[in-house]
Amino acid sequence: MKTKRKTLLIKWFLSYLFILVIPIFLSIGIYAYSLQITKGQANKMNDALMSSVKVGVDNHINEINKLFKRIALDLDVQSATIIKGKFTAKEQLTLYHLVNSLKNLNIVDDFIEDIFIYFNNTGTVSSVNGNMSGELFYHLYYENSEYDFTEFQELMKENYNRGVIPVHKLNGENVLLFTMTTLQSNFGIDSGTIVITINMRSLQKTINNMKWDDSLKIFILNSNNEIVDNTEDNLQDSELEYEKISEGDYFYKKVNNKRYMVSSTQSDYINWKYICMTPDALLEKNAKSIRYFSLVGLFLCIFMGSYFSYFLAKSNYNPLQGIIDLFRKQGNWATNTEQNEYRWLMEEAQHIFKERSDTNRILWNNSKVLKDYYIFRLLEYPFDKENGPVEYNKFNLKLNANYNVVVLFPIIPLEEQKKEDISFEESLSLYKFVVANIFSEIAVDHFNVEIADIGDMVAAIINLPSNTLEMVELLKETIYNLEQKIESFDFQVVSAIGTIELQLEGIHGSYLAAREAAEYIQLLNTDIILYDDIKNLQSKYYYPIEIEQKVINAIKVGDSSAAAGYIFKVLDTNYNENNIAIDMRKCLIFDMLGTLMKGTDLIGCGDILTTIDITRKLSAKLPLSEIKDRFGEIVNEICTNILDKLSENESNNQLSNRVKEFIDKNYQDPDLNISLTGLHFDITPAYISTLFKKQTGDSLLEYINSVRVKEAQKLLEQGISVVDTSQKVGFRNSGAFIRVFKKQTGVTPGQLRKTI
């Protein structure tokens, strides 16, 4: 966490700091520029200095050159030079004049310390200090350690065009001897040397007066790389090379560990170069304050900038950190340290959004389960009057009408599927789903419906506006409709309808009734079981109308064993299970006898009973076996009679023939089904279906389908399309047609058409 926070914090901090680069570069730039300017100014000052040094010194040199010419052209000089050996008294006057003219010349320029002429031929000197022997002159004025007198004499005898000889006198004075050999006399002998002496001090004074700073070093370099006015002994002659220095150049040189900028200028009159060495420190002195301020500014900039950068980065980061902390508290801290905070936040947010949508889906799913569960509870448990309405509102159930009835739809596998139990179990939920969907779809036109799964059943709470027979009939009709639709699937569904009860409180009761009704599914072998139908069976006296009808039907067709079977079953139930009282046994016996009579009457054989002494043979006090025997005998006797009578009638009159006849006429009606057929013959659909199967061996539904398929085959052979065919033969949709067709013929209608 810490490392991660630092990444972005540091990043921001650095980016703020980066702005500091601007003033830093700016101040570096300003400093460099001002250094350049100050150096430029120093250069200009040096240029001016050098030119004034040049003018100043050159003027003197020029003056010296002029003096040389004047002296050389002086007649006294010329005449004195040619005298050899010794000056006689006669020449003294010339020399006297000569000295006077030298004195006058010397006044002209106080830069000049001494002027003298050395006469080679006589070895004497004429100077501003008078005429004397060369030796005395040397000892008086030019004694030095470098040249002794003889060397000095040799020096004087040399031929000079223009020479400069530095002499360091014993008395500490340093002088420069500018020498020029006198004009060649007529005799072609260089017989004298004119010397003009300048004191190094006055030369330096001239130069130093021009210095704009004492730390400047200005000196004169001659063409032998000697420093002419070398009194500052810290400079070595060899350090600068005359040839290499050119005018107007600047270069840097290190002397005694100090860096100097060297500039120079060339004398116009002599092979001298005036060199100015400016210490770097002086150049930078002016720039120093600028540098100082720049540095202070820079440090201030960095210091304050860093502080503010950190402050800003921190204050900008704080909200982000708050957000991060918020996310972190959620606990989904991913430990990817490579990521920065934004990326991390994004991923966290994605996590959370995904989690939320997952949660919503689960909640939605759960709400469905909860709703189912609530409905289940409504069904299974008595309604809690206190909390019930509140819970009811939560689930938004549409059960607002006054009456409710519960219908259970147990899913019953078809015969062939019973063999493969596993697949059925797997399909069960699908079936339930199909049933629930279809039913709610059908029922929604008439009622409000809530549907829930309970075990292998689908439970539907149907909200009825009123408790009338019309409503019941409408419900029944709806359920028939459902069952008819389910026929096209490969399973069967049966409906158990509970009692119609008031309000929500009644749902539980209705459910219990429906459960009870469902118990009778196996027993009654019918598609729809109304609780009202079976509620009488509930009493200990068990002889439902259905069974009585079955008995009657059996009698009608003369099936004694069937009739006896029904009777025995009722007897067993009442005697063994219910163990009804004697009175009720009497009633039962009478009921049953009445049933037999009804049956015989219907066929028109009522007279049979008259021949049989029924009452006598039957007594309630008789044991069950005897009663059974009695009834067996009676039924047998009746049936024998009926069969006799029936054999007289044609078997054509059989019900199945009439049903077939009805179906053959009406197969094109898509509404034709078991229910319609039952209605037509005023027999319950379940019963007619059973009866038809019993008489023909085929199930009624299969018969209807086979008629339709046969007709369809005819039509298809005529080239009529599959869709048209399915409509013409009474299928509501071609899908069902195709499925049924293939089931019956083994091929699809399309395939059949193609074969034609």
Partner: protein, 553 residues
């Protein structure tokens, strides 16, 4: 440069002067006629203090806190250590004791003349100016008339009791420091004793004379002998060598004097002024000198000889005799040479005569008022009394001691009753030469507005030979031939100098030619004629007229 040295070297003589601490005269009274001033002087040896002090006595220091500007050239011995005279202990003491603040103004060294001219042209004058006023173009009288300086007669009368007392006691000096019209114009530099007036003379190698068994030469012939011996026996290449280029030494040439004449003007015994260079004596001198030159007895480089060369020759054995000052030449050379040659010694030779035993008629002598160091009050000065009191202080006893000996306890102490320079002065701890250490504390070793004390010179000469010079060189009749400080009129002096410039140049040129043999002495008469044709007569007329006016003072 040589001028300063000249002033620093002053001859000795007995000071016969008593200074009276005259206090005062503060009569603010009547403007006495300036011309009366000279009449008040009374030739008494000691001036009595003014008997009547009519008002409160004046005492130094003055309390007014006055400031005066004082223009003067700065002596080289001072400038060696001080940029301004005001920085010296001497000037500080002077200012402290008089209560006058002095702001000294100095011209650059060697430019006194030019700066003085500029000062006059500018017109913005300092309060007082120290200057050789007799050389003012047209003389001091003209300076007064031009409104440069003021006549001091009233000033002396009112504010200068000390000077007035001195002048009364020394009427001959009083005469010298006035103009022909009787105006005082300067607070003078006065040599307090005759011995201070004679400082130049001949000197000769005493050790050589001794070696050669010779006496100190007194006649021309003896000199010839001595010089010849020096040349031959001692190998002197320039037996007689002296600073020919130093004007005063050439002028005071003892060998010219020997022939009873001078190179320049002199006062003849007839009471008139003569020009010596055209007289027969001068021809004899030239003849002698030319011969000596030819014989090699005289330095062959004579014409251009200057101090350096002569000093070298006098100390290295090239020369054996010379002319110069006892202090700056004799003393210096002895000290320099004895360092290598302990036997080396110079001794003074008297001014030579033609005949042995004669008293020399001519010799070097200065007037006691020598036209140096005089201070005048300018017309710009507003506080004349302060200036006068300041300057008069030097002529009182306290001022006399300050100017000649400095500060008691520092630069001198009284030993017995003799003011003796302290060790600090004689052997300066900072190694300054005596002349410089003296110059910090006194003005006695050069000049200034005060009376010079001979006791200074007595201590300044340290070698016996030097001390002997007074008696040897002073034994002449020179004073009789010295022209007093006469002052030609403005017009006269212009005419005079234009004539004499020409004559002097020609004379000097010809003198050398005669000596070198370039010109035959047979042509001396032509030379004389040429000089006369240049207007010598007129020059003499001007000189004699001035002399007459002087005598008439």
């Amino acid at each position: 440069m040589f001028k300063k040295k000249l002033f620093a070297m002053v001859t000795t003589a007995a000071l016969v002067m008593s200074l009276l601490a005259g206090c005062s005269n503060s009569s603010t009274g009547a403007d006495t006629d300036s011309k009366d001033a000279s009449n008040t002087s009374n030739p008494t040896e000691a001036a009595a203090p003014a008997a009547e002090n009519t008002s409160t006595e004046f005492t130094y220091p003055m309390t007014s806190g006055k400031t005066l500007t004082y223009w003067t050239g700065l002596n080289a011995n001072v400038s060696a250590n001080y940029a301004n005279l005001g920085d010296t202990p001497f000037a500080k003491a002077w200012m402290e004791r008089t209560g006058v603040q002095i702001e000294f103004q100095h011209p650059p060294t060697g430019q006194d003349q030019e700066q003085f001219s500029l000062l006059l042209a500018d017109g913005n004058l300092p309060d007082v100016i120290e200057y050789p006023w007799m050389t003012f173009p047209g003389g001091p009288e003209k300076a007064i008339n031009d409104g440069v300086i003021i006549s001091l007669n009233d000033v002396f009368e009112q504010y200068c009791p000390n000077l007035m007392a001195y002048l009364k006691a020394n009427p001959e000096i009083d005469k010298m420091i006035k103009t022909d019209d009787g105006h005082y114009y300067v607070f003078p530099f006065i040599r307090g004793d005759e011995v201070l007036c004679n400082t130049i003379g001949l000197m000769v190698r005493q050790d050589w004379l001794q070696d050669l068994g010779l006496e100190v030469p007194t006649t021309i012939d003896e000199w010839h002998t001595v010089l010849t011996k020096f040349k031959e026996e001692k190998g002197a290449t320039a037996p007689f060598s002296y600073e020919y280029t130093m004007g005063v030494l050439t002028e005071e040439s003892p060998f010219t004097y020997a022939f009873g004449t001078s190179k320049n003007f002199y006062l003849n015994s007839d009471g008139t002024i003569h020009f010596g260079a055209v007289e027969d004596g001068y021809k004899q001198f030239l003849t002698t000198f030319a011969n000596w030159y030819k014989e090699g007895l005289i330095d062959q480089d004579l014409a251009t000889l200057a101090l350096d060369q002569v000093s070298a020759k006098m100390t290295n054995g090239s020369a054996g005799a010379s002319v110069g000052w006892a202090g700056s030449r004799m003393g210096v050379w002895i000290k320099a040479a004895t360092a290598t040659d302990p036997n080396y010694m110079l001794e003074a030779a008297p001014y030579p005569t033609l005949n042995k035993g004669d008293k020399p008629e001519f010799g070097q002598i200065e007037n006691r008022y020598s036209n140096q160091g005089g201070v005048a009050i300018t017309t710009s000065c507003e506080d004349i009394e302060a200036a006068a009191r300041l300057l008069d202080y030097a002529y009182g006893e306290a001022g006399h001691m300050l100017f000649n000996f400095g500060i008691e306890g520092e630069s001198y102490s009284i030993v017995g009753d003799y003011p003796t320079y302290t060790e600090q002065i004689l052997n300066n701890p900072e190694g300054w030469p005596l002349a410089q250490s003296l110059s910090a504390y006194i003005r006695g070793n050069y000049n200034g507005p005060f009376v010079q004390d001979k006791r200074y010179l007595e201590q300044y000469y340290t070698i016996d030979s030097q001390k002997a010079t007074n008696g040897i060189w002073g034994a002449t009749n020179a004073r009789a031939h010295k022209i007093p400080p006469i002052t030609p009129t403005s017009d006269e002096s212009q005419e005079f100098s234009s004539i004499m410039n020409e004559i002097n140049t020609y004379r000097d040129e010809m003198t050398l030619k005669f000596i070198f043999g370039e010109e035959s002495l047979d042509n001396f008469d032509d030379y004389v004629k040429n000089v006369e044709s240049m207007g010598l007569a007129r020059a003499l007329e001007i000189e004699n007229a001035a002399l007459a006016r002087y005598n008439a003072r």
